[in-house]
């Protein structure tokens, strides 16, 4: 099975405290720690496990700048066979549809049976996989937390739905799936693993290589635009307890008792 996994380099929410810049309209990006989008590691792990069972290749692809190459290498260190970087100044400012348009052009250059994305990334929209599927006229399932290959032409997938329930579906290949965390346990990648793939060639393709009309992607093609970042006024928020640990604990216990949480 030929599997394409779409990945993204994102600010790491576990490693950063996000602050606005001095102008107050963008994140202060000077010291941000970036990593591969958490969901994407599950997608790559799932792809590797499928290929281990039924044969084939895993290719990882991203739309980004030069620095995005590091996340492709990380996923190749996990076991992806190939990496492709889609990079062009004309791609900057793309909205979700723009990203899906760029990925579609690359998909059409390959012969993929299965295309995976993470269920969502830093922007929290969860949009690119569903858009890509609709553009290709492939079936789509989001929030996939179980995947079983039934044969050359069909797969069975479980989707996470509300309340911890799981919706089972049968789908025709080729198809696009967005992968939810928890579907597997992504393998650990150490420095040594990254070194092993450091010299592998990662082709870089731009709009011309993909045969894309630059006006359909990037800022020109975007109907949806982020105007700025801000921190909303959420009212008072929590009453913050301060003082020594003993003082804080005494205040906390008193409050929990008054709310019926402790006898």
């Amino acid at each position: 099975m030929e599997i394409l996994v779409c990945v993204k380099r994102v600010p790491d929410t576990a490693e950063n405290e996000f602050e606005l810049n001095s102008a107050g309209n963008d994140l202060d990006r000077d010291d941000l720690v970036y990593s591969v989008n958490e969901w994407d590691n599950y997608a790559v792990e799932e792809a590797i496990q499928i290929v281990d069972k039924v044969g084939g290749n895993v290719t990882v692809v991203t739309v980004g700048d030069d620095e995005s190459e590091e996340v492709l290498r990380r996923e190749m260190a996990m076991g992806a066979n190939n990496g492709i970087l889609l990079s062009d100044d004309a791609f900057e400012g793309s909205d979700g549809k723009g990203i899906a348009t760029i990925l579609k052009a690359e998909v059409e250059k390959g012969n993929y049976d299965l295309i995976l994305t993470g269920a969502q990334a830093d922007e929290g929209a969860g949009q690119v996989g569903g858009m890509l599927a609709a553009m290709l006229d492939y079936p789509y399932a989001s929030l996939v937390n179980k995947l079983e290959v039934l044969g050359d032409a069909t797969i069975k997938v479980g989707r996470e739905i509300e309340g911890g329930n799981q919706e089972m579906n049968e789908m025709d290949l080729p198809c696009v799936l967005s992968i939810q965390t928890g579907i597997n346990e992504p393998r650990y990648v150490g420095i040594r693993g990254i070194r092993k793939v450091a010299k592998l060639d990662i082709p870089v393709k731009g709009a011309a290589d993909l045969g894309l009309d630059a006006s359909t992607v990037g800022e020109d093609g975007a109907k949806v635009k982020r105007v700025d970042y801000f921190v909303p006024d959420m009212g008072d928020g929590a009453e913050m307890l301060e003082g020594s640990t003993d003082e804080i604990i005494a205040q906390l216990i008193e409050r929990i008792k008054s709310k019926g949480g402790l006898a």
Binding site: G130, A141, E162, R255, G261
Partner: protein, 321 residues
């Protein structure tokens, strides 16, 4: 502004809460715009929800087909593309159905897509201005959206004030004949119900709930010690279940259990909307997190900036002592 349509998700004829929240979202887009409810399904369940919506919406479209009996996103998408006008502005829920349906719908309708909207700043000509969140709720963004060829907008549950049920006396129009070919390449098989765990966290008045801040599997026992001292039950957020440190039945959130304790202790939990969506009944929320900017402090009643791994044993000792 183009006509607005609100897709009403329902379970066996009972509309989900979002049905009462769309009108406020629509009003914030354009107070004068017409808003039509759209319901899909089959048979008596569909009629039940369509009639209920006529009490809230001035006009309701129903699409009845056996293929729509279970909400398969691919089938619903085909029906909506055939029934709705090309420049429609369509509201959907940002939940597991909306995430499945909305992005592809926007492509097939050749319209703009904006997901998980938490507030709306109105329409300026053909530009819709909305508010979203990014990075797990750590920051908000203003987003502008060109709606000149229509738009698909998913709305976060609970973000817009619900309307009070009133007898709108709306009309129900049957558009089933316009749904077109509903054959799908994805076929629904069944829903597998969530596993029942050894402990029912939904029955507890006091939850000690842990998140990423627990850091290591070995530290789970520190939370268990605290819960035992407090007479509480241990619950958790999604990353703990993903790591297989606790069973799924202990997960609080929209994709896990909905709990209604008196006191909810959120320990090392950042407070994503998916997690807080599972905390109901207005409990007293205690947040302890080492990140002073964690979104949980915005929704908690009382907050403490501390490393839970240091704080929990001290609290356990104080309570036991």
């Amino acid at each position: 502004m183009a006509e607005l349509f609100a897709y009403i998700p329902h379970n066996a004829g009972i509309a989900e809460d979002i049905a009462m929240e769309y009108p406020e979202a629509a009003k914030k887009m354009d107070a004068g715009a017409a808003l039509t409810a759209v319901v899909t399904g089959s048979g008596a369940d569909l009629d039940k929800v369509a009639n209920a919506m006529a009490d809230i919406y001035a006009s309701v479209i129903k699409i009845d087909n056996e293929a729509l009996a279970y909400p398969n996103a691919e089938v619903i998408r085909k029906a909506l593309v055939n029934v709705l006008p090309a420049d429609a502005i369509v509201l959907l829920p940002h939940n597991t159905l909306g995430m499945d349906l909305a992005p592809g719908l926007s492509i097939k309708m050749d319209s703009a897509f904006v997901a998980d909207v938490v507030d709306i700043d109105g329409c300026d000509g053909k530009t819709l201005n909305v508010v979203r969140q990014e990075l797990g709720g750590a920051v908000s963004t203003h987003v502008s959206c060109d709606v000149s060829t229509g738009a698909v907008v998913t709305v976060r549950g609970g973000a817009f004030a619900p309307v009070e049920g009133s007898a709108a006396g709306g009309t129900v129009v049957d558009k089933s004949a316009d749904a077109g070919d509903l054959a799908a390449k994805r076929r629904f098989i069944e829903v597998v119900a969530a596993e029942v765990g050894d402990v029912d966290i939904t029955k507890s008045d006091l939850l000690v709930s842990i998140g990423r801040g627990i850091e290591e599997e070995e530290n789970i026992s520190v939370a268990q010690d605290l819960a035992e001292a407090m007479g509480a039950v241990v619950s958790c957020s999604r990353p703990i279940v993903d790591a297989k440190w606790l069973e799924k039945s202990r997960q609080v959130g929209t994709s896990g259990q909905t709990v209604k304790p008196k006191v909810y202790m959120a320990l090392g939990i950042s407070g994503s909307f998916q997690h807080m969506g599972g905390v109901k009944g207005n409990p007293y929320i205690v947040a302890i997190n080492k990140n002073p900017k964690a979104p949980i402090f915005q929704v908690a009643d009382v907050g403490i900036v501390a490393d839970i791994l240091e704080f929990m044993p001290e609290l356990t000792d104080a309570i036991s002592g």
